[in-house]
């Protein structure tokens, strides 16, 4: 004899149990896509998911945290910020390029990031979400740490554009000899470029 519960999801699962976290994430993705980061509120996400705003904070923390969770990134891009700004300025370019390339070494993570890039270049609202993500989670904190202002932001966007282009040329277009170069060969050339953009 088979009960409803075992048929639905095994004995550990209560019948009709609602996936509240999943509903919140779905509502968050819809809100961020429709309104962008700035005009999305935790309150609106909670309303769309039919839960209390406190529950959204309880599960996901700040709006930044919720955004990172909603994007389903394979890693938290905020880990890059202390790496860029929290250590010695010497070797900063090298550390950043090394970490960036390291993220692509895991094939699963690489595929998910390339998937994000593909959506960002083909779907308008994905481009907007990716722009918001980069802006709020990496660009603004790094630029602030470099002294803030438009010039610091500008230099950080140049670094970001170089690294994204590098990933495309190496992993998507597979241009040789860039595609078969070792990380060290790339770091040796690109590290100083990144260093100059960030330090002058």
């Amino acid at each position: 004899m088979t009960s409803d519960a075992t048929r639905r999801g095994g004995p550990g699962r209560r019948p009709g149990k609602v996936d509240t976290k999943g509903q919140i994430l779905e509502a968050a993705r819809a809100e961020f896509a429709a309104k962008g980061f700035d005009r999305t509120t935790i309150r609106a996400v909670a309303a769309a998911a039919a839960v209390d705003p406190g529950l959204v904070h309880h599960y996901f923390g700040t709006k930044d945290d919720l955004f990172v969770a909603a994007m389903e990134l394979p890693f938290d891009p905020r880990m890059l910020v202390p790496l860029i700004v929290g250590q010695d300025v010497d070797g900063l370019g090298e550390r950043l390029v090394r970490t960036f390339l390291g993220v692509f070494e895991n094939p699963d993570v690489r595929e998910r990031i390339l998937g994000l890039i593909r959506s960002a270049v083909t779907v308008d609202h994905a481009a907007a979400m990716t722009r918001d993500l980069i802006d709020h989670v990496i660009l603004t904190p790094v630029a602030d740490a470099l002294g803030g202002g438009d010039d610091a932001r500008f230099r950080v966007t140049l670094v970001g554009s170089h690294l994204v282009g590098l990933a495309l040329a190496r992993y998507v277009l597979r241009l040789e000899p860039l595609a078969s170069a070792t990380s060290d060969q790339i770091i040796e050339r690109v590290g100083p470029t990144v260093q100059r953009y960030l330090s002058t």
Copy 2:
């Protein structure tokens, strides 16, 4: 009274006239997509289009020329080569970035190039065709002019990756302040980077 000819394409067009050039281009696109640049021959394209190989040469010139025509580019990327290698090394980075950004200033041309980039990142055979295009039409001649060998090619791919990333960040993601920066502001920063990659 309306003749077949006027109904089909106006009085200047013979009835049943075959678009031979169009057929050759279609055959070329299919061959390049299926086999890549290296393994595609003018002879095979001619056979697929059911014309004489001499006619392919007559209409389109070399295999390079045919490839550029088949990609339906809004400009001939080979114009970049003499610009990079045929002039003084001083100011080479600046000239290259200025020309690259200039290409994007015409909205129609910009949309077509972004369309190519979109296909290249989402469709595998488009990525292969774009790789072949960049390789045979820009990368190899520029690298040869810089002395040839893997190191020259590597440095040219780094320049290309930076410029493609710049186009994505500025025109697709529209990251600020990069998206609203003037060409001169970008040239001032990125020109020296490109110069260093190409000259050291």
